[in-house]
């Protein structure tokens, strides 16, 4: 068991006088969406960290001594994340000093000389700092930090957009929702995204090609559609036969209703369609849009077919959304 100390016996300290790189998208460190301070005195490692940070959209500043690191922090901080290698002489003291300045500063402590996090005993001030034992995890840690940052920066409209979209997506699941709410679906989408930051995680990774809201919308769509698919999956009876203790084969189909809509369900669906259409008896444009959507016609084709302008179409869809959400103010 080793304690985090301010110096590392095995490290060779070479001053890395790397210039600070151009911040991504021409932003300055203070205006950039995501920023990082790297305190590292090993030039190749610094270069590696900078490359990954740049790939993940972070504008980074570097320091190869703790004095320079503290000066940069006090001049340009706080940063989205501060990365300190404990091998840098005084590194741990620097991390503690930064935490004293700003207790909520997110921090990664690089401790490559340890085999596991358990071997590292951290000072109380750094108890919640992330440890970077395996350099391969750096990308994942940044992705995780990015998600926190994005959640913090989601606007009111973004959050409402996600919530409304989730509600409709669940309604679209129909019986396959099995009690799931829009809030549950949103939570599952985020959980899956967080899972994607794990090494070998099975979740859905968020890449830089799309913004966070679009990503979550896509994940919700994907979760809903796989849920629907699995609900609709057809099994052969022989695949699900089970034997009881006496060796009698029993089929779960004896107790579970078929996934296919039966006559009652078919009637319910028809009634639902009729109910929805009935809500818009006084809105001819909405009726036309509904008819088009029910038939699976594309937006442009609906407009063309029924002679609707963009404005009429948008207004009709808005009306449908509001009425179907069922909570319109009187």
């Amino acid at each position: 068991m080793a304690h985090l100390s301010s110096s590392c016996g095995t490290a060779t300290f070479q001053p890395a006088s790397l210039p600070n790189p151009e911040s991504p998208r021409g932003q300055s460190i203070t205006t950039c969406h995501r920023s990082a301070l790297v305190v590292e005195n090993d030039a190749p490692l610094t270069k590696y960290f900078l490359r990954i940070l740049k790939e993940k959209g972070f504008a980074a500043r570097t320091a190869d001594t703790v004095d320079e690191g503290l000066r940069l922090y006090r001049e340009c901080g706080p940063f989205t994340v501060v990365l300190v290698n404990y091998c840098v002489p005084g590194g741990v003291q620097l991390a503690i000093a930064i935490r004293e300045d700003n207790p909520s500063q997110r921090m990664i402590i690089a401790a490559f000389d340890y085999r596991s996090e358990e071997e590292v005993i951290r000072p109380r001030e750094l108890a919640d700092a992330q440890l970077l034992i395996d350099i391969c995890n750096f990308q994942r840690q940044l992705e995780r930090i990015k998600i926190d940052r994005e959640i913090e920066e989601l606007t009111k409209a973004d959050l409402l957009r996600l919530r409304r979209s989730a509600d409709f997506r669940v309604r679209c699941l129909g019986r396959a929702a099995c009690g799931m709410t829009g809030s549950d679906l949103l939570g599952e989408a985020l959980r899956s995204t967080l899972e994607g930051t794990r090494r070998n995680g099975e979740g859905r990774r968020w890449n830089n090609n799309v913004d966070f809201v679009t990503h979550l919308m896509g994940v919700m769509r994907s979760i809903a559609s796989s849920r629907k698919r699995s609900f609709d999956d057809v099994f052969l009876e022989c695949e699900v036969l089970v034997c009881d203790v006496e060796g009698h084969k029993t089929s779960p189909f004896d107790n579970v209703p078929s996934n296919e809509p039966n006559a009652d369900q078919w009637l319910i669906q028809m009634e639902e369609e009729k109910r929805i259409t009935g809500l818009f008896a006084n809105d001819p444009a909405a009726i036309l849009v509904l008819r088009g959507i029910f038939d699976g016609t594309k937006r442009s084709e609906i407009m063309q077919k029924y002679g609707l302008t963009e404005r009429q179409y948008t207004a009709a869809v808005k009306l449908i959304r509001l009425k179907l959400f069922g909570r319109r103010k009187v």
Binding site: S116, E117, E118, I147, D148, I151, L154, T155, K156, A157, D158, L159, L160, R161, L162, R163, R164, S165, A166, F168, R169, R171, C172, L173, G174, S183, L186, G187, L190, R191, L194, R198, V213, T214, M217, M220, R221, K228, E260, P261, Q265, W266, Q269, E272, E273, I276, I293, F294, D295, G296, V317, K318, I320, R321, L322, L324, F325, R327, R328, K329
Partner: protein
Amino acid sequence: MGDKKNRDERVQELYNRLADSILELSDEAVIAEVSETDSDPQEEAELVRMAFKEECKQFDLAERRCTTEPCSIRKREASNG
């Protein structure tokens, strides 16, 4: 049977389209639309953000448990001889 399936899909298609249509709305339009319902947009938005933060917290806790569990298991195994 095809007709039955199709009937089921028609209503789903509607809700799917409505879910997608929200992405096309401007920020002002989304907020205005929520205001037209019984909900308070500010309150509703903050509830979503809080739920997200809670989800992250739970995920991190589970992560930490994952990294510490093997050690506890090893300790338990050692103490059991």
